[in-house]
């Protein structure tokens, strides 16, 4: 069953708290991504992971870090969350780095930082 699963789906945190967003996929995909979605801005790439312990910054990596210790699992960490990190975060995966590969998305994690 081809699926990307994100946890938690909804999260409210206070400014300065740490946040852990988790993503799993059951397709043995090599490449995984974290995007954030904000009104009027579309999806912006935070980080890419090409495989276990092989991660690369995207367009907006500041304030975020990632961890990928197993191929099927990719975490996004916010150390000391800020109010401007309130957003919907999407995890995605693709078979490999091929340019024509489809991205498969999770249902999103809605984070509110107060």
């Amino acid at each position: 069953d081809m699926k990307v699963t994100q946890m938690p789906r909804y999260l409210i945190k206070r400014m300065g708290e740490n946040v852990l967003l988790e993503c799993g996929q059951d397709m043995s995909h090599e490449t995984m991504y974290w995007y954030r979605q904000d009104p009027g801005l579309g999806l912006q790439l935070i980080y890419i992971s090409y495989d276990v312990d092989s991660n690369s910054e995207g367009d907006i990596p500041k304030g975020y870090r990632v961890s990928r210790k197993k191929r099927e699992h990719f975490s996004l960490i916010l150390d000391s969350a800020k109010t401007n990190q309130t957003s919907v975060y999407f995890c995605a995966s693709s078979l490999s780095q091929g340019r024509g590969n489809t991205l498969y998305f999770g249902e999103g994690s809605r984070l509110i930082v107060v």
Partner: protein
């Protein structure tokens, strides 16, 4: 910068009418282009994708898109819109920098009225 632009933030069409959603790309070289759809409270799902070759691409649910190099465009079309097409549509281009990822437009919200 290499990117895609969706000039229409919102489009309203009558059920049964035809539809065109616009996407302009800026890319050095041969682009690989995608259209995704996002239904409420869900992640993005692939509608169709363009590889270099036939400029008209067929997708799911009666959608098609036409690639135009001369116009730098990849517009999405549907002959007869259904109420269930109410969603947000994203155009994306596959980027090849240090790695491969997709860069998204800001999205077009499609509203279908009776």
């Amino acid at each position: 910068a290499q990117s895609v632009t969706q000039p229409d933030a919102r489009v309203t069409v009558s059920e049964g009418a035809s539809l065109q959603l616009r996407c302009k790309y800026s890319y050095f070289g041969t682009p690989y282009l995608f259209w995704y759809v996002q239904y409420p409270r869900q992640g993005l799902q692939l509608l169709l994708k363009y590889y270099p070759g036939d400029p008209v691409v067929q997708g799911v649910n009666g959608f098609e898109a036409e690639f135009s190099k001369s116009n730098s465009s990849f517009h999405l079309r549907k002959a007869s819109v259904h109420w269930s097409d109410w969603a947000v549509y994203f155009c994306a281009v596959s980027m090849k920098d240090s790695g491969t990822y997709q860069r998204f437009g800001t999205g077009t919200k499609l509203q279908v009225v009776p």
